[in-house]
């Protein structure tokens, strides 16, 4: 094989570069996200539960929000009936953000960890957060 030394060195460097993220982070665990529920409104709730069960919200909140978006904008439907029969206004601002008024410590926690970048905030206004 001609130039086997150069080729093998090149291959080695290539392999090292490609696997860089793996060995660079070896032994260094990124702390799991901890969405913060400590807001004044949530603190004042008797039963600390979202409009649906926590498990459902954790897994399907994006689907729920997409459905809400289409219901509110396209069908003009502004009331959501939860599984327990409770009614809520279909509004990111009036329902979600009333309790979760801490976007950076709630939404962003998981979204940053998972590298997802929802475009909600390009238009919807996040509540101002005090520097607590």
């Amino acid at each position: 094989m001609y130039d086997s030394g150069k080729i093998l060195t090149g291959l080695l460097i290539f392999a090292l570069l490609v696997t860089f993220p793996v060995w660079y982070h070896l032994g260094r665990a990124t702390p799991p996200p901890e969405p913060d529920l400590d807001t004044p409104v949530i603190a004042g709730l008797a039963e600390k539960e979202c409009i649906e069960s926590t498990e459902y919200m954790r897994a399907y909140h994006m689907e729920l929000l997409k459905t809400w978006r289409d219901l509110a904008v396209r069908s003009g439907e502004k009331t959501y009936v939860a599984r327990d029969g409770e009614k809520y206004p279909i509004s990111l601002e009036d329902t979600c953000l009333k309790c979760h008024s801490n976007k950076s410590r709630f939404c962003d926690q998981c979204h940053n960890y998972l590298g997802v970048d929802p475009n909600c905030w390009n238009c919807h206004v996040a509540p101002e957060e005090g520097n607590r």
Binding site: T67, R69, L71, V73, R74, S75, G76, E77, K78, T79, Y80, V81, K87, E93, D94, N119, N122, C123, H124, V125, P127
Partner: protein, 257 residues
């Protein structure tokens, strides 16, 4: 086990039937779930209309901009100084610009500032051209924008004969002086326009411009209802619409006589 050809074909047919039944059952189950999710139909059939009494509006004077300010504040409409990139939902236009076909006919109105906004046409050309159905006509007559779907192609702007649509050439947020947190802003690359205060109507409130007018020059109502105030005005007074020759059938009327 022995099986003759006849039994084999029968079994095969039954099996196929079973496979076909599964998706049908699935659809039926889903249909039940969706219909259970909705409650009252907020959008009821009708035909929202706005009547602008230009006599009262002109009496208020050219400096009055209560309705414009109220609308732009309620909907976070950016105030961009560059004329080319301005965003406006409701504004004033000289008579001969708003009614070009009437130019030279009504001398007393020449040059007078007329309040103009989206006409929420009965046959809206913007809706017809939108490739993503981001703009659509609701059952109650409102021509709505779904900003989530807008791709910024601006076909609707080319189609609208009233210039009622504005494009966000840049991020509008820095140009919104006081943000109303209850209503979203827009982002760069989408088209926006008046929505007849759809969000206020859902709460049973009149549009922001109508509520802000101190002179009672703006009247809002349902044209389908024969007893509505707008119907009564249309019956009693002489009104005109913008560019009726185009057949868009606007739902914004102007009392001029």
């Amino acid at each position: 086990m022995e099986m003759d050809r006849r039994t084999f074909l029968k079994m095969g047919g039954l099996g196929l039937l079973g496979l076909m039944a599964a998706p049908v059952v699935d659809v039926l189950l889903k249909a039940g779930r969706v219909s259970g999710a909705g409650t009252s139909a907020a959008v009821t059939a009708g035909r929202w209309a706005l009547v602008v009494d230009m006599k009262k509006c002109l009496e208020a004077g050219p400096s009055c901009a209560d309705c414009i300010l109220a609308c732009h504040r309620a909907h976070n409409v950016p105030q961009i100084p560059d004329l080319q990139e301005q965003v406006r939902w409701i504004w004033k236009e000289p008579f001969e610009h708003a009614f070009p076909e009437q130019e030279g006919r009504a001398e007393s109105l020449a040059g007078k500032p007329f309040l103009v906004l989206c006409n929420h046409c009965t046959d809206p050309p913007c809706v017809r051209v939108c490739p993503t159905r981001a703009t659509f006509k609701r059952q109650d007559g409102i021509v709505m924008m779904d900003y989530h779907r807008c791709i910024g192609c601006r076909y609707c702007m080319a189609a609208c004969p009233y210039g009622a649509r504005s494009f966000n050439f840049r991020d509008p947020r820095p140009y919104v002086s006081t943000t109303n947190p209850a209503y979203p802003t827009r982002e760069r690359g989408v088209v926006e326009k008046c929505n007849f205060c759809e969000e206020r109507l859902a709460e049973g409130l009149p549009p922001a411009c109508v509520a802000a007018c101190r002179y009672g020059a703006l009247v809002f109502g349902n044209l389908v209802d024969p007893h509505s105030q707008v119907r009564q005005i249309l019956r009693a007074r002489y009104t005109i619409c913008r560019k009726p020759e185009l057949g868009t059938r606007p739902n914004v009327y102007y009392v001029v006589g």
